[in-house]
Amino acid sequence: MPVDAEARVISNTRLSPDYNVIALAAPDIATSAAPGQFVMVKVAGEAAPLLRRPFSVFEVLRTNGRVEGLTLLSKRVGTTTNLLFNAVAGDVVSCLGPLGRPFTLVDPPTEAIMVAGGVGLAPFATLAEALLGRGTPVTLVYGARTERELFYLDWFHSRGVRVRLSTEDGSAGDRGRVTVPLERELVAARGRDVMVYACGPEPMLEAVAHLATRHGRPSQVSVERVMGCGLGGCYSCVIPVHNGPQGHHYVRSCIAGPVFSGEEIVWD
């Protein structure tokens, strides 16, 4: 059941001129959130923006086993993300969640490949922890524009996640899109069961879903659409999904998603 927490900012870490990780004291949401779920955020006391904005739960914060809160990975693109970038400890952020359908987890011997593009890394910290907790081997295939925009690599390494990188400028990992290392991983995994998880820009999700299908692999993609409420009230965040031969219909990505099978979405 979603709750609305007036969450105190515990800390705010700037990772780059555009990216930050903000820690929020919202233990109830953090405790009940499943990997892939999201929260709707509004910076308290600000008249604008009027509407909340969706963010994946990035990390669940624990001290001595007790859940203290959660973090959000944010990239500055608009008003809310600018407010989150500039927030300081003690500020208050309204945080509604957890919302949406989470990722479906897989068990060994099935292996997991998580494909992240840019700020699409956000749902994969909690997903990696959940999968590793079941003994499922996890590979993170992570792409960004440049090496300086690849974050939390040590975090994933230290937990036993295999990490494969790509950058558009070639400064780290493969030069080019994230599909370059992904294709190599899919070829190498021939004969083993694999689930592909993806989050990032929609063209990337489309490419990943098609690549997975071509290799006979299932995929789960987490989409981000312009969202008004997060609860199914406004019908703004719809995405077309297949509905019989040649047909499609719009479903609300806030309640039918944000995680979908890569094969059910009708890509543009």
Partner: protein
């Protein structure tokens, strides 16, 4: 000081008594059931469900909303499951939740409104019909009735003939004199009017020179439209004897009170519910404490109580 009785929050809309004047606005609350986890629907005065046609509708392609200063523009295009699936899939759940269900209906022809009214009059658990003759976002129907006095009169009287449910036409603000549409509705036998639907609006991305919405234009809602909506409610209340249900940018108890004092018997809340789905209890608490503080026994006594005999003194 003795204990004072709690104020009477109930209001009457035709033959229907609402527990309080707060109604979830159509198009902003799904089919109601989506909100069952965060709001006790039985504590709302009413739930106006998303506009229904006879058939299912796809709605417009995304992008469907854009935020604007103190508001938002939407062009959803009335995506919906159609009346038959609504009755089969949603109404039983709404009944179980003890919601007072106001069904918003929309047609492309007069016959479609009549058919919808017939079907819903036979369904168990429908408290009232709101006639959507004001959606700015679809090409045919709806607003073509709502922008013509004859069209408004004809559709209201046609529906009136086939149902005993309270009939509430929802009026568009995109006309010169909204009060004349309230009067036409009253003359045609409406039990109440609700207003305002959204203001036809547009937003453009100057970098790409493209409209921000796929439908090019959409309807503006939110606090940006509130003072205009208050004025229109005031005008309509003076023009008709039937109740006026006011809406437009209500986001606090003070906003609810402003509409009631302007002339509304009940109000609808839409956009603000998107930002705060827990708003209902806060609004009700605020209205209740205002009534107690001002010694008003019945919320209905506030309706139209604005004192225009002398302007407010400043300083």
């Amino acid at each position: 000081m003795g204990l004072t009785a709690p104020p009477d929050l109930s209001v009457r809309i035709g033959s229907l008594t609402l527990a309080n004047p707060l109604i979830a606005a159509s198009g902003c609350f799904g089919y109601g059931v989506e909100y069952a986890e965060v709001a006790d629907l039985s504590t709302l005065g009413g739930v106006a469900v998303k506009g229904l046609f006879l058939a299912e509708r796809q709605g417009h392609p995304p992008q469907r909303i854009v935020e604007t200063p103190s508001g938002m523009i939407n062009a959803i295009g009335l995506q919906g499951i159609g009346v038959h699936r609504f009755i089969a899939e949603k109404l039983p759940e709404l009944r179980a939740l003890h919601a007072t269900v106001i069904v918003n209906i929309c047609g492309t022809t007069l016959d479609e409104y009549v058919e919808l009214a017939r079907i819903l009059s036979d369904a168990e658990g429908v408290a009232a019909l709101e006639l959507n003759i004001s959606c700015p976002n679809i090409k045919e129907g709806g607003i073509t009735f709502g922008c013509s006095l004859h069209g408004t009169f004809d559709v209201v009287s046609a529906v009136r003939k086939v149902t005993r449910l309270p009939v509430i036409p929802k009026l568009t603000p995109n006309v010169t004199d909204v009060a004349s549409f309230a009067k036409a509705s009253e003359d045609a036998g409406a039990d109440a009017v609700s207003l305002v639907n959204t203001f036809l609006a547009m937003a453009i991305d100057v970098e790409t020179r493209r409209p921000k919405l796929s439908n090019v234009m959409g309807g503006l809602s939110g606090p940006a439209i509130r003072p205009i909506a208050v004025r229109m409610v005031y005008e309509c209340h003076r023009a008709v004897k039937i109740p006026v249900i006011g809406m437009g940018g209500i986001a606090s108890a003070r906003d609810v009170l402003e509409f009631l004092i302007a002339g509304a018997t009940a109000v609808q809340v839409g956009t603000a519910n998107f930002a705060d789905p827990f708003i209902w209890a806060k609004l009700l608490d605020g209205v209740t404490s205002y009534l107690q503080r001002h010694g008003v026994a019945r919320v209905a006594d506030l309706t139209g109580s604005v004192n225009t005999s002398a302007p407010q003194k400043h300083g």
